[in-house]
Every structure is written in structure tokens, then in C-alpha cells.
Symmetry: C2
Subunit: 346 residues, 2 copies
């Protein structure tokens, strides 16, 4: 791909300009601006005043090159405009600003190829750390190894691969899923279906496991046919629900690993003239804003996405950044909460 060259911008004021106009050495200017103790407050004042006067702005690029780190953190998410991820990013951003770090954000649109490119880009940009939530397509982890090879810190969150050793921040998915089923069972639902994402992702395996465990613990029947692993959109949720609800042995409740899928199930019910919660219970994941607005309102597992973002960034600043080579690698579990709404209350 050809890259259009760009006109160089006009030069801006550098520490050399400040030094010359004050008749001191550039190194002194640098020290003054960095508040070094080896510089008198008289000179510091001079330099600061002159910097203001001439509109000096620090060139992070030059400093980064010399220092070897950038105070930039890279974030890779499947979709920036899904509110779960948007909230995580917002939380990360808030904490990063507090620590004077910037954020470079990439989206993979659920494609492995784009994920690999994003990793490349971030390494090139010299980011200090990469925070990543894997795409649905991702099954190989060579590109994550690449991050390690370049000695860049990284933290996986939500959609993680256990195949690679790293700090992680996740919900307790198995437990959350278990509790969701417990909730449905307590509301009197007996035949609970599971609509999850691709089973090669850890996250969905755990949720499925929690689902199975709860069925067993509560003596509920496990129907192989009620378990679907590739349901990730409203459309596929609707389609699959339509199908299941028209078989002989039909589910009377759905545990969906996404609120969007819950929505699809709801649409299916409406089409079949069934009602929730009376005929069918529904609970989803993520507590998207719309869950409280639809009729009936949708129960959901709140994953505390904004807080997850904060915790990811805080983990970086409190531990990962200072990580020694042989230090223990940590997993943080973010709380979850069953938000009971109409769709599962009978």
C-alpha cells in the first residue's frame, strides 16, 4: 500500500531555542523543565517563564526515543462501539489520565488478521503495555508471544487465552453463569437452554461449565440440544430460539452470554406469541443499557465494565509497570451481579 508522503510541519520551539535565548546549555533547560535538583530555582524560574513566553511544548517523541519508554498504553478490543468495550475503554482512559499516560486504541472487528496488525502497530509505536481482549476468531497466540518477545507488558481481559502466560482481568464467569442458572431455577424454570459464544474461547467454556454445574447441583435435566455455542448476535439468537421453541421438548428459559442474544430470544417469543417471564425466562450478560428499556425488561449479569476498565489500568500502574522478571503473575476477578428484571421474575 502506497503511503502518501507528508509535508514536514514548521519547526516548533525546542529546548535548544530556549537555551540559546537564555544563554544557558540545553542540558540545563532539560533539567530545569524536569525539576532536577541539580538546578537552582532561579534558573528553573527563568526557563519556565521563557518556555511559556515562547510557547514551548515538550516533544514526547524525542524524549521517548531517548528514554526507551513512551507512557503510551495500547488497547485492543473487538469493537469500540459496543458498550461493554466502550465502557471498559472509558474506565481505562480515566485511570491513564491520572497517571499521565495516553491511550492508543485499536479495534479488531472480531478478525484475527486485524488483531495481528494491531499488535504490530502497537509494538512499533513503542507502547509500554498492551491491554487486549481477543477477537472471536483468535485461536492462535503467536502474535501475543510477539508482545512478550519485545518485552512489552501486557494484560489480557475478558476474552483471554489461557494458552499464554499473562496478567489477566476477568469476571468470575463460571460463578456468574452458575448464579444465573440458580436464579432461573429458583424462579421455577426447569428446562434451561444455554446460548453461548465460540467454545474455543475460555470465557465461554467457563460460562458453559457454570451452567452445567448448576444444572447438576439443582437436579435439572441437561439436554444436549439446548446447548449452542456460536450464538453471538441478536439475529442468531432469534433464529435458534425459534427453532428450539418449536421442538417437542422445549426450553422454558434461556441463559444467553450476551444481552444482544437475549434480545433475539425475546423477538422469537413475540413472534411465537409466547410471553416472558410467564412462558419463558431469559437472562443475558453485560447489563447493556437497553436491557432495562425493553418490554419486558431483561435480566442480565452485570459485568461492571467501567470498573473492569479501571481495574485493568490500575493493575498496570500498581503492579505490571513495576514488574520484576520473576514476579508472580496475577489474575484479577471483577465482581458480577445478577440484575433481576421482568424477563426472569415469576
Amino acid at each position: 500500500m502506497a503511503i502518501v508522503p507528508m509535508a514536514k510541519r514548521e519547526k516548533r520551539i525546542t529546548i535548544y531555542d530556549l537555551a540559546k535565548s537564555l544563554n544557558i546549555a540545553p542540558s540545563s533547560v532539560s533539567k530545569a523543565l524536569n525539576n532536577s535538583h541539580a538546578i537552582s530555582s532561579k534558573i528553573k524560574k527563568m526557563v519556565e517563564d521563557k518556555a511559556k513566553e515562547l510557547n514551548y511544548i515538550h516533544n514526547t517523541n524525542a524524549a521517548n526515543l531517548r528514554r526507551g519508554f513512551s507512557r503510551i498504553i495500547g488497547v485492543i478490543v473487538p469493537k469500540i462501539n459496543e458498550s461493554f468495550f466502550a465502557n471498559i475503554i472509558a474506565g481505562i482512559e480515566k485511570v491513564c489520565v491520572q497517571h499521565q499516560h495516553s491511550l492508543i486504541i485499536c479495534q479488531t472487528e472480531e478478525s484475527l488478521e486485524k488483531e495481528v496488525n494491531a499488535v504490530q502497530t502497537l509494538i512499533r509505536q513503542n507502547v509500554d503495555c498492551i491491554l487486549i481482549s481477543l477477537s472471536l476468531e483468535t485461536q492462535s497466540t503467536a502474535h501475543l508471544e510477539e508482545i512478550k518477545n519485545n518485552h512489552i507488558h501486557f494484560i489480557q481481559f475478558d476474552r483471554i487465552s489461557p494458552a499464554i502466560d499473562s496478567y489477566t482481568v476477568v469476571n468470575d464467569n463460571e460463578e456468574a453463569s452458575y448464579q444465573a442458572v440458580v436464579h432461573l431455577a429458583k424462579q421455577g424454570y426447569q428446562n434451561i437452554a444455554y446460548f453461548g459464544g465460540p467454545a474455543h474461547l475460555n470465557l465461554y467454556q467457563e460460562r458453559k461449565q457454570g451452567y452445567k454445574n448448576a444444572l447438576k447441583d439443582f437436579g435439572l435435566t441437561f439436554y444436549e440440544d439446548f446447548v449452542k455455542d456460536e450464538i453471538i448476535s441478536t439475529a442468531s439468537g432469534k433464529q435458534e430460539a425459534l427453532h428450539l421453541l418449536q421442538t417437542d421438548v422445549k426450553p422454558d428459559a434461556f441463559l444467553c452470554t450476551s444481552d444482544y442474544v437475549s434480545l433475539g430470544v425475546l423477538e422469537a417469543l413475540q413472534q411465537l406469541n409466547l410471553s416472558s417471564p410467564k412462558d419463558v425466562g431469559i437472562i443475558g450478560f453485560a447489563n447493556e443499557m437497553f436491557t432495562q428499556l425493553v418490554q419486558p425488561s431483561l435480566s442480565s449479569v452485570n459485568q461492571f465494565s467501567y470498573e473492569m476498565g479501571e481495574q485493568i489500568a490500575e493493575l498496570y500502574f500498581s503492579e505490571v509497570m513495576k514488574q520484576k522478571d520473576n514476579e508472580e503473575i496475577k489474575t484479577i476477578k471483577v465482581k458480577t451481579e445478577i440484575v433481576q428484571r421482568a424477563s426472569s421474575s415469576r
Copy 2:
């Protein structure tokens, strides 16, 4: 604020390492990697192979410093996790990736102070261009002048300040607002209220103007009391609607400049046992996802946020990037569309 120092990462492979191991000059390596025509394909091949073998990764920082530009674009929005802005960012990101540019994203949380800081940060990072949508608080533009002083391109979008000369990408807000009122009028609503944002923002002035013009053109009465300028949240929308709907002369329709405000109006109606669309018409702005999910579904002005993002980035790559000093500055209007739903259909 103290900044914790960071351990320098282990060194990675540089062009010098490649050069040494191939017994050629670093400059030749650079040229080879940049596919310069002054290098034989034999050497290019050698260099590329060796680069792969040693896992060489280009150091953007060093290149940026030398070149004077960064291929990084800074984006400043009020809130990353509002779907309108999240969509815009997603659109921008898509186009930037196509042009091998990265994105640094800042959120202001509607605070001028954070906006000023964000601008500072982006200038320091040597971004090539800043894309900004102003915070609700922003009334001064000194910080935007600062962008210009540093010869950094910039484009304002959506919430713009006309006080400063720049490329802009916006909806035709006056027209959209006008059409929204026309739509309400055609549905038989007579007493239309306007719930808008702070009048110091251009955007809201235009929408108010469109509203006024439409009232006049359609011979509808203009009630001073029906026009509110600081309604930007669901809560304030509800509160103000409750108030207006309990006065003597009450509105029978609301034009809200945000879907969140529409939602508040709807809540007010429910509390007062009024119904929409029968008693009161509602139309909002942004076509947020939830507008089609609530009961009754909410009409809205689709602002095509994702497309707006794409157009912003495309404007940069097609024109701004190549901008000559005395070139004409352009405004792009992004289409809008009235999405008629239940809340305004009677």
C-alpha cells in the same frame, strides 16, 4: 504530580543490528526496508529475510523524530462510551487503519479543563492532526488556537466552535431540526416544545433556529416557555417535561436534541398517565439503539454517526493532510434522516 520512573525495557533489534549482521551500512538497511529505488532488489531481499529472522520491528518513535510527523491522529470527544461518539470513533478508526495511521483517544467528560489537557497531551505526542468535538463547558477557544500555533492540522466535528477557523464535519442541524418539526406538525401536533443543549454551542443554536423557522413556516405558535436550553440528560428531560405538562398551556409534542432526553420525556408521560403518540409526540436526536426498543419506540433524527466518523477521517486523508497554506477551508455536512417510529405517529 510525581511520576514513577520506569525500568527501561531490554533493547530490541535495530537497523544497526541488521546492518552489522549483513555487513552493510545502516542507511542501506533503512532504504531497503523503505523500498527505496536506490537499493538493489538483491539487498532488499537479504534485508527483509534477516529482519524476519531476527524479529526486527520498526521503531516508530525514532522515525517520527527524524521525519517530523507521526502518522498518529488524536481524537478528543466528551465521552467515549456514549454510542454516538463511540460510533464516530469506530468509523474514524476504520479509515485510519486503511491509511496506516494510529489513533490516540481522549475524553473530556464535558470538562473544559480536561479538554485543555487533552490538547496539550496530543500536541506533545506529535500527532499529525486533532479531531475534536467540544465539551459542553467549552466557551473559550485559546486551546484550539494553540493547536494552530503548533501547526497541527485539526478538524472540528459535531460540537464545533465557529469562533475558530477550521475544517468542520457536522450535520445540517438547522435543517434536521426543521424537518423534525415539520414531521411533528404533519402528524397533527400543534404545540411543540424544544428541549435543547446549552445555547452557547453552535449546534444547539442551529437546532433551535430550525425549530423556530419551522414553527413560523407552518403557522404554529411559539411559546417562550416551551423552549429550554439546558436539558441534556434523561433526568432533566423528565423533570422539565413533568413541569411543562402540568401547566395550563401544555405542549403536545417535544423535539429533544438527544434521545436520552426523549427517554426522560417518555418517563414523565408514564408518570402522568399520558400516552405517546396519542397525547404527546416525541422525537429525539442520534437514533441511539434503544430508541427502537422502548415502548412506544422513539422517533429520532439519525445523524449517521459511524459514517460521520468515516467522513471525518476521509476528509483528513483526502484534503487536510495535503493542505496548502492558502487553501480553502471546507465544511462537510453529513446527511440526516428522520426515523419515524411510534412516538410521533398518529
